[in-house]
Amino acid sequence: MDISYIILVPFIPLAVFILLGLFNQKIKPAVSGYIGVLGLLVSSSLSFYAAYQYFFVSGKMDGVYQTFIEKAVWMKFTETLQIDMGILVDPISVMMLVVVSVVSLMVHIYSRGYMKGDDGYTRFFSFLSLFTFSMYGLVLATNLFQIYIFWELVGVSSFLLIGYYYTKPSAVAAAKKAFIVTRFADFGFLVGILIVGFTTGTFDFETLNAVSPEGGSLLLNWASTSFMGLSVITWALILIFMGGAGKSAMLPFHIWLPDAMEGPTPVSALIHAATMVVAGVFLVARLFPMFYFVEDGFALNIVAYVGAISSLFAAIIAITQNDIKRVLAFSTMSQLGYMMLALGVSGYEGHEGLGYMASMFHLFTHAMFKALLFLGAGSVIHAVHSNYLKDMGGLRKYMPITNITFLIASLAIAGVPPFAGFWSKDEILVAAFENNILIYCSSVFVAGLTAFYMFRIYFGIFWSKEKAYDHAPKESPLSMTFPLLFLALLSIVVGFIPFSEFVTSDKIGFEAHLNYPLAAIATTVGLIGIVLAWAFYKKENSLSDKYANAFGALYRWAYDKFYFDEIYLFITKNIIFKWISAPFAKFDRKYVDGTMVGIGNKTVWTSEKIKGLQSGRVQDYAFSFIAGAVVLALVFIYLWTN
């Protein structure tokens, strides 16, 4: 299969970025919007074409999806160790191409309406293009280092876009936080890469993933070298997962994600819901064979538990939040936890690999309906100029399209058949049920919570009591509603894609069946959640407050996000700033510099002391001279006589 044209996919957004970035001031806003959309349209078409080619025409050989690689050396370290730049085409990268293309295109179109009249319109589109470029690069990466490079680039695009309203201190703080927290996680990622690079002598996914349980691969040779009870490679994988956890907002690196909602809503939809945050999941999936085979999947277990805990944790917090974007952010985190745990409980071959396939499937469907939710929320925020639930209510009359699409998305995420979320979530639950009953129970509980908090905000926004609006909210323009409708359509239909035929851990398709009992349980739990939400929030009543009070401390904790922000604040403000940096800075001035200055001062002091010797009195000189001469004479006499 000829894949060279796929190289164009990332490079078109890059070209758009450079064009818009360089001529920021000179391009009319309207034009820059068109350039952005047009560029992405081309990229997307290419991606769709590539997906079609790969999945249906020429990707398969003997029933196995082949991996196509095209690369060039970018930097050479040793004969074997080098960084390549290139593209790698396999089922998950093609699937990700589609996800990125669809969401990014929709967000581009949406932004033309949402950002209208904003000062930095062109800047916004150039950043979006930069992000899209980086994301394409990330999913197509052929090796660990390339993925790291684009990993950093998506991070910085995220930084720039969160800090888009750069005069707002909260936005700046959020941007900084997002970058630094993920950077900290990336530190682990980088060390992991270094370990892998050193122990195996390669960064290439293809070589690294050529692991088989029979052993013999270069990876397993190293797996025996142990360090603190675990093999070196396991450590490396844990560290790499740390990077993934940072990007995917897993516990405890999740704190940046809610704050990242300071960015414009389309950005939240694109970066912090659909694409960038799934990079962590993608990374684990990319290295899945390594995770699975090295030391019996020890690292994979960690992935599973971190995912499960994060998903539960985020769902609990999401119930209590009042900012609708934050609810969605925690919801994202919760769903990402789902994907992680699905990967974590997955096996490798055939039906065993259901978790892997489910994770990717959920990634795919989630991207659609979560982007839709965010764009819908953006539409609402656009109309009422507030993020807070208390400022909304009864909007269904004013914004029918938003209402319908938001409802569809909510149903999808709540796992109500036949919407997309139901199918993928069901697969995850099956995978969890088959492997780890504890995780399964938690997941089912989370499913109920998800339905509850989603319908809490749905009812809160669109039903409930009408608030006193400054001016009557009105439905958004076509540029915004079109993406909503399109994504809503996708949220309905994508669930019917036979995903297990295309994306599997061993690249051989299999047929997945609906597990009716489990599906029924999940659906029931979801429906219970919806009904509860309906009871609590359809009409404004005091029921919710009553229950909140009943939970007391637990509610408060959840409302304050279990004080994670405070812990981080403590670490940065107190430990790093006050206990490390400040003493270092002081130490530097006082002792290090003090020593150097002290040496200088002592020199001056000494010379002050001894300058008296140079008195200018010839007699004194003569005295020293004669005394010296006499002493020397004595010495010589002494020496001669002995």
Partner: protein, 174 residues
């Protein structure tokens, strides 16, 4: 006889030398110096260098001492008592000088001088021909040099001594 004269001279020289450097009256110490110089001339006589003794008397006793006396009279009141160094310094210096004497004398006495017994008389003519000789062992060049030095010193002395008082403007050049 000569022996006794030598000892008298020696004692006189040492006594006057010490008084010369310790006297607190300027003029007196110059006069004491004169005695020392005369003593040196006496020693020259004793070892039969009459010409040298004559020079010593005329140049030193006659010229230099007069010069110094004039300068003393120009810059001093006769009765002015000089201030001396601090006693501690005097003592230290004295001890240093005594040690120096000790060192010198041990060196001198431990060295076996090869004394040649003689009673040569050196005439002025010999000295003159040596001074002006330009052959082997002649001293004509140093002689000329010293003449020039003397001339230069003379001119210099005149120039310096008559130099005008520095004005306040040139204060910083000191």
């Amino acid at each position: 006889m000569e022996k006794i004269i030598f000892y008298i001279l020696a004692v006189m020289m040492i006594v006057f030398a010490i008084t010369a450097v310790t006297s607190r009256k300027m003029l007196r110490s110059v006069i004491y110096l004169l005695f020392v110089l005369c003593g040196v001339a006496g020693i020259f006589f004793l070892i039969d260098y009459n010409f040298l003794a004559a020079i010593q008397l005329t140049v030193y006793a006659g010229g230099i001492i007069v010069l110094i006396i004039f300068s003393v009279l120009l810059v001093h009141h006769i009765e002015l008592k000089l201030d001396m160094a601090k006693p501690i310094r005097q003592i230290i210096t004295a001890i240093g000088c005594l040690i120096g004497i000790g060192v010198f004398l041990t060196t001198i006495y431990s060295y076996p001088f090869k004394v040649v017994e003689n009673s040569n008389i050196t005439t002025t003519a010999q000295i003159g021909s040596k001074l002006l000789g330009y052959g082997e062992g002649g001293f004509i060049l140093p002689f000329e040099v010293i003449s020039v030095v003397l001339l230069a010193a003379m001119i210099g002395a005149i120039v310096i001594a008559k130099g005008k008082k520095l004005s306040d403007k040139n204060e910083e050049t000191i």
